[in-house]
């Protein structure tokens, strides 16, 4: 566990001094503010629901870009071989990097705290719904970070890894809108795989075990694949 913490600390330090992380954070906060502003001016509601559905799509594009450097950069600098031959297990490496990404996402959401504060000043938001909305967004972010890590473990080029991460996640977004693409019957079958379908309940204040499991399983699968991808370097 201490190795996981060491990796986490190192990654957090890299984030803290990396101007790209600040740029992404600023873009994320701007887009959050934009969707929040549009949401409340269009609906007049003391709710983050419009923000939540749009922010999930923003996460889908931003988080693979934020996590793209994790393994691709290590590989480019030649430090990945060193890490893999060190006493640090691939599992601890993957977990430490993933936890650091999730922590950064948590900080990003903390940066949006001004938005519910605005709701509280001008209205009477339902704090239970606000809390569950943030929980849903954080769970989605955790899954998206895992996908980003997986793509980063596959390619040497950072940008290509980021784009591949988006490609991995796009189907999970598109099946949420499957009705428009395929027939109702097929849409009904693939809907459980859609990210937005699972976020919707959180936006209403409902924490459903199936939704929590969905994001946890998505994160687990991508983390497992990342672990396998790193381990494959030992026998490839």
């Amino acid at each position: 566990m201490s190795t996981v913490f060491t990796i986490w600390k190192k990654e957090m330090r890299v984030y803290a001094v990396n101007p790209t992380a600040y740029a992404f954070l600023a873009v994320f906060l701007f887009l959050s503010g934009l969707f929040f502003f549009l949401g409340i001016t269009l609906t007049g509601e003391a709710s983050l629901r419009v923000l939540a559905s749009n922010l999930a799509i923003v996460e889908l594009f931003i988080l693979p870009m934020l996590t793209m450097r994790h393994f691709a950069e290590e590989r480019r600098q030649g430090t990945l071989e060193m890490l893999l031959t060190s006493p640090i297990s691939p599992f601890a490496l993957v977990l430490g990097k993933w936890l650091a990404s999730v922590t950064l996402c948590g900080l990003m959401f903390l940066g949006t705290a001004i938005l519910p504060a605005i709701l509280a000043y001008y209205g009477d938001p339902d704090w239970g719904v606000v809390a569950s909305t943030y929980l849903g967004l954080l769970l989605a972010a955790a899954a998206f970070c895992a996908a980003g890590l997986f793509s980063s473990s596959l390619l040497d080029d950072q940008l290509a890894a980021g784009l591949l991460g988006i490609v991995f996640l796009l189907p999970f977004w598109l099946v949420s809108r499957a009705e428009a693409l395929v027939g109702d019957e097929l849409a009904e079958r693939v809907r459980p795989f859609g990210v937005l379908n699972h976020l919707d309940s959180f936006g209403r204040g409902i924490v459903d075990s199936a939704d929590v499991y969905y994001f946890a399983a998505l994160a687990f699968c991508f983390l497992f694949l990342t672990y396998r991808a790193l381990e494959s370097r030992r026998w490839r």
């Binding site: 803290a16 001094v17 101007p19 992380a21 600040y22 740029a23 954070l25 600023a26 873009v27 906060l29 701007f30 959050s32 503010g33 934009l34 929040f36 502003f37 409340i40 001016t41 609906t43 007049g44 509601e45 003391a46 709710s47 629901r49 940066g111 949006t112 001004i114 938005l115 605005i118 709701l119 001008y122 209205g123 009477d124 938001p125 339902d126 239970g128 719904v129 569950s132 459980p192 919707d200 309940s201 209403r204 204040g205 409902i206 924490v207 459903d208 075990s209 199936a210 499991y213 969905y214 399983a217 687990f220 699968c221 497992f224 694949l225 396998r228 381990e231 494959s232 026998w235 490839r236």
Partner: protein
């Protein structure tokens, strides 16, 4: 050497691939299992995001019957201010219905785009819900789904869709139209009056279960050569007669009970006591019920306790209080009369008493052992009368005696969180719809922001500018500090 290395790679690669595939398969199977046994927590303030217990009960009945029900919700008019809220409320509702039932099939249709479905169902109005079961169909219009309340800044739109759809389910359930007759002609509560003392809103609540309130006037009855309770009566309510009911009319009520009928008798401390209660072994002692635990700020409204009867079972489980007004004590005979099983429905705490006047402190009555009756005091009693009593010749009769009539009026219907449920459940029990007994809810309201045009500018700056600028400044600071090293 190269062959063995290739073999080794193939073995390791196959192993990795298989392991990954198995893991993903396990995760998918896990999802299916979790999906089958979902656990849901509603974190919203009023638990308004999940279906009301009453709707769930009706869905369970539909599931039990197994006949498919199709709910088609049509979108609101585009460009209208409230369309977003209306569409979202309807979508949320049908999503929850879809989740909660095996037999309910739901569709949300954009009326402007999917004209074919609209024409097929003959729907031309926006925000309409069509509920179909076999050949039967109920259309729910916009005005039944949404209600505008308040004025000025307090003006808001309430969503009544869930109650309306639940009502449609009840209407579509075969043979569920029940008529409850309310006796009139002796100054009783009027089912058509919409004032606080009327029953118009109670009638609307009863309509949720397709129960209809009709007047029963023995004196002006022209349908039969001899006055009697009509054959289609599912129950008869005698709600606070102002003058004594003539013995002849009481005999007519007893004759109705003898055939296995159901009777609701509600009295107040000052109203005359129908003689029929004596025949049923129920006494209404003089005085009014008081308790140390009162509904603030009223000096005469004791907080009733539920005594485990089916009418109040769900109310007790959900800890929902029913507010009663100045109530008369209702005492079943001890020991009970042969063939009559009595159960207390509402009761005071042990600190309650029957107040018969005397000292008053700070506007509230005080218990005086010499003149008052000791608690706990029952305020509502349910009776099941069998043929052993000699009063019933066919089946079992049900009687609910309430020491408070106001609890059945418009005035108290929304006063306590449990009042609407208590009233509806009382009638459900009387008409023997025991499996429908549940808790009814209140309409869902949207939480609005009170923002002016000036506020919009302020919010725009706070939401769009402040966060990103602060982060960029911080990033620039870190970058500059590192560059200076």
């Amino acid at each position: 050497m190269a062959v063995s290395q290739r073999k080794r790679r193939f073995a390791a690669g196959s192993n990795a691939f298989l392991m990954s595939a198995v893991m993903i398969a396990v995760a998918c199977v896990g999802y299916l299992l979790v999906d089958l046994h979902r656990i849901r927590y509603d974190l919203s303030a009023d638990q308004g995001s999940v279906l009301l217990a009453d709707t769930r009960t009706k869905l369970a009945l539909l599931d039990r019957d197994g006949e498919p029900v199709v709910v088609t919700a049509f979108s609101g008019q585009r460009g209208k201010k409230e369309t977003y809220f209306k569409d979202r409320a309807l979508q949320d509702l049908i999503d929850e219905l879809d989740f909660a039932s095996q037999v309910v099939e739901v569709h949300f249709v954009d009326l402007d785009k999917d004209r074919l479905t609209a024409e097929k169902l003959g729907v031309t109005d926006y925000s309409t819900v069509v509920v179909q079961r076999g050949q039967a169909r109920v259309d729910i219009k916009d005005r039944e789904l949404f209600r505008r309340v308040g004025t000025g800044n307090d003006r808001r739109l309430d969503f009544l869709g869930e109650q309306a759809v639940a009502r449609a389910f009840a209407q579509l359930t075969a043979d569920n139209h029940r008529i409850v007759y309310t006796l009139v002609g002796h100054g009783e509560l009027d089912p058509q009056k919409s004032d606080l003392g009327g029953l118009s809103e109670v009638a609307a609540v009863l309509q949720q279960d397709d129960y209809e309130l009709k007047k029963l006037d023995f004196v002006r009855q022209t349908d039969f050569p001899v006055p009697r309770v009509p054959d289609d009566a599912a129950a008869v309510a005698v709600l606070r007669p102002r003058v004594p009911i003539p013995p002849l009319e009481e005999d007519l009520l007893l004759a109705y009970l003898a055939g296995g009928g159901s009777l609701l008798i509600a009295v107040d401390p000052d109203s005359p006591v129908p003689g029929i209660l004596g025949r049923l072994g129920v006494a209404i002692p003089s005085g009014r019920v008081l308790d140390k635990m009162l509904v603030f700020p009223y000096p005469d409204r004791p907080v009733p306790r539920y005594k485990g009867h089916v009418i109040t079972r769900d109310l007790a489980e959900d800890n929902l209080v029913t507010v009663v007004s100045s109530a008369a004590p209702v005492q079943p005979s001890v020991p009970p009369m042969e063939g009559i099983r009595s159960s207390i429905v509402l009761e005071t705490s042990r600190e309650g008493w029957i107040d018969r006047g005397g000292e008053v402190r700070s506007g509230q009555g005080v218990y005086e052992p010499d003149i008052d009756g000791a608690g706990p005091v029952s305020m509502a009693v349910a009776l099941e009368v069998s043929s052993d009593s000699g009063l019933v010749s066919r089946g079992n009769a049900r009687v609910l005696v309430s020491g408070d009539s106001e609890v059945f009026t418009n005035g108290l219907l929304a006063e306590g969180p449990g009042n609407a449920s208590f009233v509806l459940n009382s009638f459900r029990w009387l008409v023997r719809d025991d499996d429908r007994i549940s808790v009814v809810g209140k309409p869902a309201a949207v939480r609005r922001l009170a923002i002016s045009v000036e506020d919009i500018e302020q919010i725009r700056w706070l939401a769009l500018g402040m966060g990103p600028i602060l982060v960029l400044l911080l990033g620039a600071g870190v970058w500059a500090a590192r560059r200076g090293r």
